[in-house]
């Protein structure tokens, strides 16, 4: 002790409190501890006063001035040396004060001294470990405890405080190797719920995920990540689908995409994404989910740069399988997987696709899981820019082989179409068609892949008694047949219109009440802040080359026009014209900030009027004119 104090005295000579010198304070503290280490009835009043003074120095609620903090530091250091004199019973009040302290309140030196004390207390494992870990987890985020005026200041120090917390937890787990087991339990208790405020959730999860970088994360396996994915799913299911889409099932899947191409100042075609007309703006859960997605994606990026992504990905897959896969029509949480795959397409991207395929092909999984998995698979293969066409073809091959085998086994000529009994088959086939809609052009352009595709049992399945074309969603069937015809895949002509007339009571039956026939998990992402992570790797329908657009010019930018609806028929378009004059000045800045998503009214085909929010009109971008190039329609009349 003498050696340490000598150093302290030298360092703090300038800022001695006029009342106490360093060594005096230390002696004072020890005396105070010893003075009350007896049965309360025999404590001398002077000792009690001394102890009370000590409690005052270590008061967590006190506003700390510079000298108070200096005194606090000395007191904490002395306590660190004298940890073994601290008794849980006699010094209960002192311990309460210490454990109530918030590290967000003090300067960095005080914080490191405080954390040193906590580490020493924790190493006396049988007495204080639990409470120390509780205290540390309580300090993951400041908001629950500090007044709001301090929040901004606290957040600025977030990185620093978190890294100090991680260091001290690492140190504790070196001294007490089984401490992480307790830590896991405590984090479980303190984990914020989806109803907590956004700041609390984000800062806490940020700190939690920071632990993954450490050995503690390895020790705990995927537990922390699984909890975060659970929280994401919780937030996700609290956003209702009514906020996003109307229930009209007649709209084609391929019309529903809300993306627009605009010319910016340079005359280059820029791409902007569309927020769903501000509907999600007021939704608190969407906001929280957005912030949380940003935090998780940031950590994923860090792990990818550390080389830890593969290890983390295995845990992420498991968490996805347990929480997200079977969550009812999860909207955005699954994009965590999308982003993780985009960081390492060769390994993780493939692994994810194979996992989904294996779930579909497995006989022991439940039908819902299998249908959900194949829906995810189709959507993933179609929307991920980083998935190679050859991988898509390989997987399509396995799916089609399975469908073909299924058809062989169900060759009853008298069969009435029973969508519910064969729902897995219809789900699988719909997935095949959906994927082919996105990839057909690229497959057909590559001779090797084209021959592979032609070798697949497309015809037998299409013409089988199970009539997948009658049961699957009409818009997909329509688009698929259109492309297949243009690519000359089908030898026998299949009548287009008789299929589209059957509004799928059938497809509703196969999709069930959950409408899994209409579930395309990786449909365009609608959360504003985290969109920047997803966008670069996301394939919009309008950028997909289709087989029937061959007959027009080679200019690839033309294809968007095929998705342009007939404006005249849409009643809401007149409203656009009224307000467009306000927004011309916003026109040219879209490429400056990728995050600056502007609302566009161009693809108004499906949004009903009541979603218009008058407050947002002024900021929105309206087309000043009809689309630049209009192509004659190539679909049959």
């Amino acid at each position: 002790m003498g050696v340490e104090l000598l150093n302290n005295e030298v360092a703090m000579a300038d800022i001695d409190d006029p009342c106490f010198s360093d060594s005096e304070t230390a002696a004072y503290v020890i005396e105070a501890l010893e003075g009350v280490s007896k049965v309360p009835s025999v404590i001398a009043p002077a000792d009690r006063d001394q102890y009370d003074n000590l409690l005052c120095i270590l008061d967590p609620t006190k506003e700390m001035h510079f000298q108070d903090e200096a005194l606090l530091v000395v007191a904490l250091r002395t306590l660190t040396q004298a940890v073994h004199k601290i008794d849980p019973v006699f010094h209960g009040e002192l311990l309460n004060n210490i454990f109530d302290m918030s590290v967000w309140k003090y300067g960095p030196d005080t914080v490191s001294t405080l954390l040193e004390l906590i580490a020493c207390l924790a190493s006396v494992a049988d007495k204080f470990l639990d409470t120390c870990l509780h205290m540390l987890v309580n300090n993951f985020e400041p908001h629950r405890r500090l007044k709001s005026s301090n929040h901004q200041r606290s957040l600025a120090r977030k990185e620093e405080v978190h890294s100090q917390l991680h260091t001290v937890m690492h140190y504790i787990s070196e001294l007490v190797p089984l401490a992480p087991m307790k830590l896991k339990y405590i984090i479980d208790l303190k984990m914020p719920k989806c109803t907590d405020s956004k700041e609390v959730i984000i800062v806490f999860v940020d700190c939690m995920l920071g632990l993954e970088n450490d050995e503690i994360g390895e020790f705990l396996g995927g537990a922390l990540l699984a909890k975060v994915v659970d929280l994401l799913t919780d937030l996700d299911v609290n956003i209702s689908w009514e906020d996003i889409l109307q229930e009209d099932t007649n709209k084609g899947i391929f019309d529903m995409e809300l993306e627009d191409v605009e010319e910016n100042a340079d005359g280059l075609i820029g791409r902007k994404s569309v927020e769903e007309y501000g509907v999600l703006n007021g939704n608190a859960f969407a906001d929280k989910l957005d912030g949380l997605m940003v935090a998780v994606c940031k950590h994923l990026t860090i792990w990818a740069s550390n080389g830890r992504l593969e290890a983390v990905f295995a845990n992420l897959k498991e968490a996805f399988r347990r929480s997200v896969l079977n969550a009812y029509k999860s909207k955005f949480a699954q994009f965590v997987m999308f982003y993780a795959c985009s960081l390492d397409p060769e390994t993780c991207g493939q692994e994810f696709a194979f996992m989904l395929r294996d779930i579909f092909l497995s006989r022991t999984e439940t039908p819902i899981s299998r249908m959900s998995a194949v829906g995810y698979l189709a959507s993933y293969l179609s929307r991920a820019k980083f998935i190679s066409t050859s991988l898509a073809v390989d997987i399509l091959e396995s799916l089609m082989d399975w469908c073909f085998e299924y058809c062989q086994c169900h060759n009853d000529p008298e069969k009435i179409i029973n969508p519910k009994a064969n729902r897995i088959f219809y789900a699988g086939w719909q997935a095949v068609m959906y994927t082919l809609c996105f990839h057909m052009r690229s497959i057909v352009d590559d001779p090797q892949l084209k021959s592979k595709l032609l070798g697949m049992p497309l015809q037998p399945i299409l013409h089988h008694a199970l009539s997948p074309l009658k049961v699957c969603l009409p818009s997909i069937v329509h688009e698929f047949l259109r492309q297949a015809k243009a690519a000359n895949l089908c030898k026998k002509s299949v009548s287009l219109f008789s299929e589209s007339l059957l509004e799928s009571d059938f497809s509703k039956a196969f999709g069930g009440v959950e409408r899994l026939d209409m579930f395309f998990p990786f449909d365009p992402y609608l959360l504003k802040e985290s969109d920047s992570f997803i966008r670069p790797n996301f394939k919009f329908w309008s950028s997909v080359k289709t087989t029937y657009s061959n007959c027009n010019s080679e200019d690839e930018e033309d294809y968007e026009d095929l998705d342009v609806p007939d404006f005249a028929e849409i009643g809401c378009f007149s409203e656009n014209h009224k307000i467009e004059t306000d927004s011309d000045e916003d026109d040219d800045d879209d490429n400056d900030n990728d995050n600056d998503l502007e609302l566009s009214m161009n693809k108004m085909s499906i949004t009903p009027k009541h979603y218009f929010n008058p407050h947002l009109m002024g900021k929105q971008q309206f087309p000043a004119r009809m689309p630049a190039r209009i192509r004659p329609s190539v679909s049959p009349p």
């Binding site: 040396q81 190493s123 006396v124 001294l175 190797p177 089984l178």
Partner: protein, 232 residues
């Protein structure tokens, strides 16, 4: 080290029907969930196991959850520290008041200054904190050394041991193995009758620990198995 034993056990593990196509995985998972936790049945901590199936048949439990019980023979490596036994561990932190030790990489132990014999004095040699013996110049305990100590008390919850360096056959293992038996002047003669603890490989399996379930234990492991089985 005295706390390690190898025991044979007859176990019955109840498996949930959902795992019927991968019974071995379910069993291994069940047994793995017991690792590194103090278990009252075994009165110790399981560190490792090796299993052998006794028969291909399993009896199905009647009742709400038709679990089926698979009988196994298991070879278990148990860590059973008892008070007044000698344990060995690595020093990870050394302070004037206390020495922190880790046993077998997972159990923590502390030795307070009052439990360190007079012979050892706290010094700082070449900037490194050590406990140096005043009687034997080479007997030094510092961070990273392996020491042998006596168990004073035990907290099974967190597997924390309070140790003592009072007996003269405790201290730095390296020094004890070289000089411990030759040291006549200081050693208490009665302690020389204490044999040096056998190296780990020589530990023979002590009493066969038969854990075929009797009715008392039945519900406990049934419950445990149910919970884990349902989870898996």
């Amino acid at each position: 080290m005295e706390g390690l034993t190898v025991a044979d056990a007859n176990l019955t593990v109840y498996v949930h029907p959902s795992n019927a196509n991968k019974v071995k995985d379910a069993l291994l998972r069940q047994l793995s969930s017991l690792l590194f936790k103090y278990d009252e049945n075994f009165d110790g901590v399981i560190l490792a196991y090796e299993i052998k199936f006794e028969s291909k048949d399993a009896k199905i439990l009647p009742g709400l959850h038709p679990l089926f019980g698979v009988k196994l023979k298991a070879n278990l490596l148990l860590f059973q520290p008892k008070v007044n036994e000698l344990l060995e561990g690595k020093v990870v932190k050394l302070g004037k008041e206390c020495i922190h030790v880790i046993i077998l990489g997972f159990s923590s132990a502390t030795i307070m200054s009052e439990d360190i014999r007079e012979e050892f004095k706290f010094r700082i040699k070449h900037g490194v904190e050590v406990f140096a013996s005043s009687a034997h110049k080479r007997h030094v305990i510092k961070t990273g050394s392996f020491i042998r100590f006596l168990v004073k008390s035990l907290d099974v919850d967190i597997l924390h041991v309070n140790g003592s360096l009072i007996p003269s056959n405790t201290g730095c293992i390296h020094w004890l193995s070289r000089y411990g038996t030759e040291d006549i002047s200081e050693t208490d003669r009665s302690c020389r009758s204490l044999k040096r603890p056998k190296p780990i490989e020589e530990q023979d399996s002590q009493a066969m620990v038969d854990l075929s379930l009797n009715s008392n234990h039945h519900h406990k492991s049934h419950k445990r198995t149910v919970t884990n089985g349902m989870k898996s």
